[in-house]
């Protein structure tokens, strides 16, 4: 049984939800009825134009798939190395200065809160399109994300462990490489693998807006109304995403041992 207060909270929440829905519908001119009416059309479009998918294994498609995967892996890897360094400076426990630690954390939070796609657009408009720019956009968000998570991993080192190396007379770098990194490596790997999963998805999307790879190819098929080929590519992307998820799950378990 809910008590009075819980009931009150539930009602208020439901009220706020309904109200925001109404306001949002009004402002965006979104018509729920229109969606229902067009559902049939959308269904025909999907079943007749996209199905059955047509799989093509042309060099262009295979190569762009490889480019997208490579983009995800390389951006996550470069970002991980940079983030490991930044996390050391951003952790209260290790940073040479408290102000520096706060600055690193603030910068990482700021960078992370801007989506990869937005970075891609900003960079494309200043540097032009290409895989290099897509790579940079992915590195920025991956770096920011891993800096934050790596700092959390470092903060979980039991108190006193790093201090015990200070006590033997170890230098800053000895403490980092002999204590911090060995203690954190599993946590780092686990977050790196997560970032890899995210990047496989993001690199496709970044590709669509100009970052090269399979996203670009997919977009060209869509623009040419070749929907059957496009759905073939979409399914290939899905297979790769699933494979990468499986693989990272496996590696994560391995690393935890």
């Amino acid at each position: 049984m809910m008590n009075r207060q819980e009931l009150y909270v539930c009602r208020t929440m439901a009220g706020i939800l309904l109200l925001s829905f109404l306001i949002a519908t009004y402002y965006t001119g979104f018509d729920p009825m229109a969606v229902l009416l067009h559902l049939g059309e959308a269904w025909t479009f999907l079943t007749e134009d996209f199905l059955p998918p047509r799989f093509q294994f042309t060099p262009v498609i295979l190569e762009s798939l490889a480019v997208t995967v490579a983009l995800a892996i390389s951006s996550a890897s470069v970002a991980a190395v940079l983030a490991a360094g930044a996390a050391v400076l951003g952790s209260e426990l290790l940073s040479p200065s408290k102000a520096l630690a706060a600055a690193v954390r603030g910068t990482a939070t700021f960078l992370r809160n801007i989506p990869t796609l937005v970075w891609a657009f900003i960079l494309f408009s200043s540097l032009g399109v290409g895989t290099g720019v897509g790579f940079t956009a992915l590195v920025i968000t991956s770096f920011a994300f891993m800096t934050r998570t790596f700092i959390e991993v470092i903060d979980e080192i039991p108190a006193g462990v790093v201090e015990s190396l200070t006590a033997v007379g170890a230098s800053f770098w000895e403490r980092i490489f002999q204590c911090v990194f060995p203690s954190c490596i599993t946590g780092f790997i686990s977050w790196y693998l997560y970032c890899l999963e995210v990047n496989i998805r993001s690199s496709t999307i970044v590709g669509m807006v100009g970052g090269g790879g399979i996203g670009m190819v997919l977009l060209s098929y869509l623009k040419a109304f070749k929907y059957a080929e496009a759905s073939g590519i979409i399914l290939m992307i899905a297979v790769i995403v699933i494979l990468v998820d499986r693989l990272t799950d496996f590696l994560r378990k391995k690393a935890a041992e």
């Binding site: 039991p158 190396l165 006590a167 033997v168 007379g169």
Partner: protein
């Protein structure tokens, strides 16, 4: 006159929150002495030990190691002075993902060039010494075990080996047996006592247990509210002296220990 191994000269420590950790502490320790530091919780035992190897800065006074004031050193010189002082902790503080051997070798980091230490490039001599030390503390079969997989008593023995790897003149032990069961505690105290004696090493041990202090120490320092209120041989630690240190009669203290 030769300078003693360790000398506290009117040392005070006030924490940033205003708590007085130490107040005008003066005493000295000679090579080979085994000193127990006792006192109620919050008396300043850890503060005392941690100001010797500068894990904490003192507010005023001097902490002299063989006549050199460690509270004024920094950088390479401070590292070198720390390398000559071993420390053992209540919570062992090992790098748990690394092997027993690697943890023991950490004792050499203070003597190596920073990049060799970073990469863990220890000399063959150091490796042999580490193996011999592990043999001495009866951990020879655990060379390649991961530190995380050991029992509490075994972890503390690795902590001891790491400290002895430094070949220190002075050993600091902050409640080395507080997390251990009575039989492991006895093994650890016996080892500390025998190993420091064999090497004529000075040792300062913070202890909660008065009877352990009386059994092992050649000298007891009693702290209360940051001040040294007792300094003498175990025989001089009368019930009255215990009462001045702990603020409660010795009989009540014994009862409390039984209950806890």
């Amino acid at each position: 006159m030769q300078e003693p191994l360790l000398r506290f000269d009117d040392v005070s420590k006030v924490y940033r929150n205003g708590v007085q950790g130490l107040s005008h502490v003066s005493f000295s320790v000679e090579a080979g002495e085994f000193v127990a530091v006792i006192g109620p919780s919050g008396a300043g035992k850890s503060t005392l030990l941690r100001s010797i190897n500068r894990l904490q800065d003192i507010t005023s006074g001097r902490v002299l190691i063989r006549g050199e004031d460690i509270s004024r050193e920094s950088g390479r010189k401070l590292r070198a002075m720390r390398a000559g002082i071993g420390m053992i902790f209540q919570n062992y503080n090992l790098v748990y993902r690394l092997s027993v051997m690697q943890n023991v070798l950490h004792g050499r980091l203070g003597y190596m060039s920073s990049w060799r230490g970073m990469l863990g490039l220890y000399s063959e001599e150091d490796r042999e010494k580490a193996a011999a030390l592990l043999e001495e503390i009866q951990m020879g079969d655990f060379l390649n075990a991961r530190a995380a997989d050991l029992s509490g008593g075994q972890k503390q023995r690795v902590g001891i080996a790491r400290a002895f790897m430094q070949e220190p003149e002075l050993l600091l032990c902050d409640e080395p047996i507080a997390s251990l069961d009575p039989s492991s505690a006895k093994i650890i105290m016996d080892m500390l006592s025998a190993m420091t004696k064999r090497r004529h090493m000075a040792c300062l041990v913070n202890l909660h247990q008065i009877d352990a202090a009386k059994t092992y120490a050649g000298r007891i320092i009693g702290l209360r509210r940051g001040t040294v209120v007792f300094d003498g041989p175990p025989e001089a630690l009368t019930d009255a002296a215990v009462e001045t240190i702990y603020g409660v009669p010795a009989s009540e203290l014994a009862m409390k220990e039984c209950v806890s």
